[in-house]
């Protein structure tokens, strides 16, 4: 039952928001998002730390074609649900000083998207997963289109078509699997797992590519990333946060939940290519990030680099890589939301995101400088921040696959430090100039958000065990299952 509540509560709140006035919308949205977080925490307290699927709900939906409304939460899903329900209130909170026109629609779309995201993370039926997956796209499309910056129609449209193309390939893959399920065809996750594993490695290869392209576009992985920098830059801050903080994880989660168990042989066969693409993406995006002049765009590219490492770690198929991916998915969500919020704060006060025109903000606002530094260090994976735990485990996982790949993937840490620290230096340090001299102090809400995020960065950097423990049994079981399928 609690799973249904988690999925549909945001939707009900979103529908409610449509009927209220624009001015009240913000408060109601925050209240709804916090309530959703409370529900998620309650689910966590009821959660048994083992590999089983809990809070399972299974109704027939379209019975004659074997489609059911089957949802449930295991450790992996639990972490993603927690991340989503933690970030959405934060994201809404970051908009408190921004006055969007038709704010009620804006927040309704964000909550509707939250519903779809939670749905993606708890679906245990291939068709249902696909429906939620697509459903997440419509709200974010309208958020970016209607509240986005210059040229948003063209850019968001590219984004929409790109991701839809990927999705349709995935749909093709899912139908292919569905028709290989035994007996009466079914979209149930276990039936799809069995169907996938009954295929030989060539057929699994088809399935692998059909699904991998969908996930790779969503994350995005080189060379499917061309929609991402423009979309992240043009989207309103909250839209960018939803995209990078949560929506991107749909791709990585999809690989873990669907791709690996369904097509283990396909993954093994193509892992070299897929990991190579991820690693190329890491180096390529990092290099491009270094020469960016726009800070928001720089972070967009850094996100490609980070997510490339996550996907490489997952595709290496070992426990360390997978655990690292789980942690890094959370850390990246927290860090990237923090960074985009910092961009927003700077842009609101100075009307520019150009790194070169800024400087010396630390002299005016040391408090901001400290909070910025903490988020930034989390992002460059300094030990004792959350980013370090994930990256270390991921690099360890990739190392077990191939040492050379790891050497290149490891560049992400070094290059990341280069572009992040350089931009910090240029924005915060040095002489205060005309633009930055009047940098206003942080408001209460801004402080609150940054302090919460900084606390999360430090606490989970020092003591990540509670997070690792939630997912560990499920991750171990998943990896074992995949490895057994590979040995056969």
């Amino acid at each position: 039952m609690i799973t249904l509540l988690l999925i549909f509560f945001p939707l009900i709140a979103a529908l409610l928001l449509l009927s209220v006035k624009s001015e009240q919308a913000k408060n109601i949205a925050i209240a709804a998002a916090v309530a959703e977080f409370v529900i998620a925490i309650f689910a966590l307290t009821q959660f048994q730390y083992n590999a089983s699927i809990q809070f399972e709900v299974n109704y027939d939906w379209i019975k004659s074609v074997g489609i059911s409304f089957h949802v449930g939460i295991d450790g992996i899903s639990m972490l993603m649900v927690l991340l989503t329900s933690f970030l959405v209130p934060i994201i809404i909170l970051t908009s408190i000083n921004t006055h969007y026109k038709n704010a009620n629609y804006f927040y309704a779309l964000i909550l509707a998207m939250q519903m779809a995201l939670i749905g993606v993370f708890v679906s245990l039926d291939g068709f249902l997963f696909y429906v939620f997956w697509e459903l997440a796209l419509i709200p974010i499309y309208f958020i970016c289109l209607l509240w986005g910056g210059e040229n948003s129609a063209k850019i968001t449209f590219k984004f929409f078509v790109y991701t839809l193309a990927g999705s349709l390939f995935m749909l093709g893959g899912l139908i292919y699997l569905y028709l290989h399920t035994a007996g009466l065809h079914s979209f149930n996750i276990s039936a799809l797992y069995a169907a996938g594993r009954s295929l030989d490695f060539v057929q699994q290869g088809y399935v692998f590519w059909a699904m991998f392209i969908a996930f790779a576009i969503k994350m995005p992985i080189f060379p499917f990333h061309t929609w991402q920098p423009d979309t992240y830059t043009v989207a309103p801050t909250q839209g960018t946060m939803m995209l990078s903080g949560i929506m991107l994880k749909m791709g990585t989660y999809g690989i873990i939940r669907w791709l690996l168990p369904i097509a283990p042989l396909g993954v093994e066969h193509w892992a070299y290519v897929a990991i190579a693409l991820s690693v190329i993406g890491i180096v390529y995006a990092s290099c491009i990030a270094i020469v960016q002049k726009d800070f928001k765009r720089l972070i967009a590219y850094s996100s490609i680099a980070h997510v490339g490492l996550i996907s490489a770690g997952i595709l290496a198929i070992n426990v360390q890589g997978m655990q690292g991916a789980m942690v890094q998915m959370l850390s990246h969500g927290v860090n990237v939301v923090g960074l985009f919020f910092i961009v927003d704060i700077i842009q609101k006060r100075t009307n520019t995101r150009e790194i070169a025109t800024l400087g010396g903000i630390r002299n005016v606002n040391p408090q901001f400088a400290v909070l910025f530094l903490i988020v930034l260090l989390g992002s460059v994976a300094l030990p004792l921040t959350n980013g370090f735990v994930g990256e270390f485990l991921l690099l360890n996982g990739v190392f077990q696959f191939n040492a050379w790949m790891t050497a290149f993937a490891g560049l992400s840490v070094i290059l990341g430090a280069v572009y992040m620290l350089r931009s910090y230096q240029s924005i915060m340090l040095g002489e205060t100039n005309l633009i930055t001299s009047s940098f206003a102090p942080l408001s209460g809400n801004e402080k609150l958000v940054l302090v919460i995020l900084s606390a999360a960065i430090i606490v989970f950097g020092i003591y990540p065990k509670p997070l690792l423990d939630i997912a560990a049994p499920a991750v171990n079981q998943l990896i074992e299952g995949v490895q057994i399928a590979l040995v056969k």
């Binding site: 379209i62 074609v65 139908i175």
Partner: protein, 456 residues
């Protein structure tokens, strides 16, 4: 059958209205009659009556008849303005009702002669109605083109029927099927006959490369008539097409399947790509209607247990979404004086209801969940996959992406562009209700498609 009789009598009553001057009453009488026809039709469910070996009310026929009646009910509400004109009012009613009679015959025939009659009864009123905007040159052109092309196609069809009769000695579908399956050496004119019938039917469903008439006719005809052609005529034609090839010619798959494969691929690509470069929304919807015929051809080609319900569901989803889009296009075009995409600029601000319903209808046409159009596409893809036509599914996927491009042009115009022409839109209460009902139906059918796909 009862529904057929009722519809015919409604047509006659509409004609009598002119003589006995109760013209004001026809509109409610017709709506009531359609409801009654729907109910009578449902009474025939599972009876499977055969009438003189000419028509059969099997569940296939009843399901499609019901669909046609429901869509025409929605269409009558959409077209209320069309029937307000002072002159020719009762003629218009009678013509539409007789066209419906033809459509019902087309979905329940068991004899080639009835197929031909049905097509003619449907087509001749359409030729007249396409030109019902007498002062408009485009409307006249549409009627003329439709007549010439339609007659041409009927010629092919008739020639095909003749050749098949020559080879098998029968017009009856079951008898032909028996001859085909028992006789190993069928005369070669039979195959020619099948091909000619294939061409004739492809004209009627506007499948490439026999689709050239569609855009001009759709654009020139009054918008309500275009909506009628794009929904009811297309549904009936597809039901007839499917019945013929799925039952009678099914065992001859190899003779026609390669051709239909190529036609489906062409229809998908030509329809979608040409639609993408149109500026007139009506013309764009015409090409999109060609493209949708391509998706339905996928199910026809699959020729398996999915085919019937896939086409029924697709026709349902496509028709209700089309009624909504054509309704909104005609409202906007009437107010702004033009149906180019730019007329939709800023509609979300000036009239949120229209923009909202239009968005849902276009998302459904584009096949995006949770709308009915998505499940329809999914089901078609499944049937094609089962039949081993993975390559065609790939083409259909690419074509769908192109489809998204042009449907979203209207969405972007409505939500993103600024309105320059602040002409207020007049939307009647009936239209508002109709649009709300359709929007709800699109979502409900998308979420609970079982009610329809379990019928066949």
């Amino acid at each position: 059958m009862k529904a057929l009789i009722l519809l015919s009598s409604l047509g006659v009553i509409a004609l009598l209205a002119e003589i006995f001057s109760f013209k004001k009453l026809i509109y409610p009488i017709v709506l009531l009659g359609l409801v009654l026809a729907f109910i009578l039709n449902m009474f025939d469910w599972d009876t499977n009556q055969l009438y003189f070996k000419m028509m059969q009310t099997d569940n296939y026929a009843i399901a499609f008849t019901s669909l046609i009646i429901v869509i025409s009910f929605l269409w009558f509400i959409m077209a209320e303005g069309f029937f307000k004109e002072e002159s020719n009012q009762s003629d218009h009613f009678a013509l539409v009702l007789f066209a419906l009679v033809g459509a019902v015959i087309m979905v329940s025939y068991t004899n080639m002669a009835m197929l031909f009659l049905g097509i003619e009864i449907l087509s001749i009123p359409m030729y007249i109605l396409a030109g019902s905007n007498k002062s408009d040159v485009l409307s006249n052109e549409a009627a003329f083109k439709y007549l010439i092309m339609g007659a041409f196609a009927t010629g092919f069809l008739l020639f095909g029927i003749t050749l098949i009769y020559g080879a098998t000695g029968s017009f009856d579908l079951t008898e032909i099927a028996t001859v085909v399956s028992t006789n190993t050496a069928i005369s070669s004119i039979f195959y020619v006959g099948v091909l000619l019938m294939l061409i004739g039917m492809s004209f009627k469903v506007s499948a490439a490369p026999f689709h050239f008439w569609a855009p001009d006719v759709y654009q020139g005809a009054p918008t309500v008539i275009t909506a009628f052609m794009a929904t009811i005529v297309k549904t009936a034609a597809f039901a007839a097409f499917l019945k013929l090839f799925h039952t009678t010619f099914s065992s001859l798959g190899e003779t026609w399947m390669h051709i239909v494969w190529v036609m489906a691929a062409l229809t998908l690509l030509v329809g979608n790509i040409t639609a993408a470069i149109q500026t007139s929304t009506k013309r764009m919807l015409a090409y999109s209607s060609v493209a949708h015929a391509g998706y339905m051809l996928l199910a026809l080609l699959a020729n398996n247990s999915f085919s019937n319900s896939a086409i029924l569901f697709y026709a349902t989803a496509y028709s209700i979404a089309s009624i909504a889009t054509f309704c909104i296009v005609s409202i906007v075009a009437n107010a702004k004086g033009s149906d180019v995409v730019d007329s939709f600029n800023g509609l979300a601000k000036s009239n949120p209801l229209l923009a909202f319903v239009m968005t849902i209808a276009l998302l459904s046409l584009a096949g995006i969940p949770p709308t009915a159009g998505f499940f329809a596409k999914y089901y078609i893809f499944t049937s094609a996959f089962t039949a081993g036509n993975a390559g065609l599914v790939l083409i259909a996927i690419i074509a769908s992406l192109v489809g998204v491009y042009y449907y979203f042009r209207i969405i972007i115009a409505m939500f993103f562009k600024e309105n320059t022409n602040n002409q207020p839109l007049e939307v009647t209460i009936n239209h508002k209700l109709l649009l709300i009902v359709i929007a709800v139906a699109i979502i409900l059918l998308g979420l609970f498609p079982e009610s329809i796909i379990s019928l066949l």
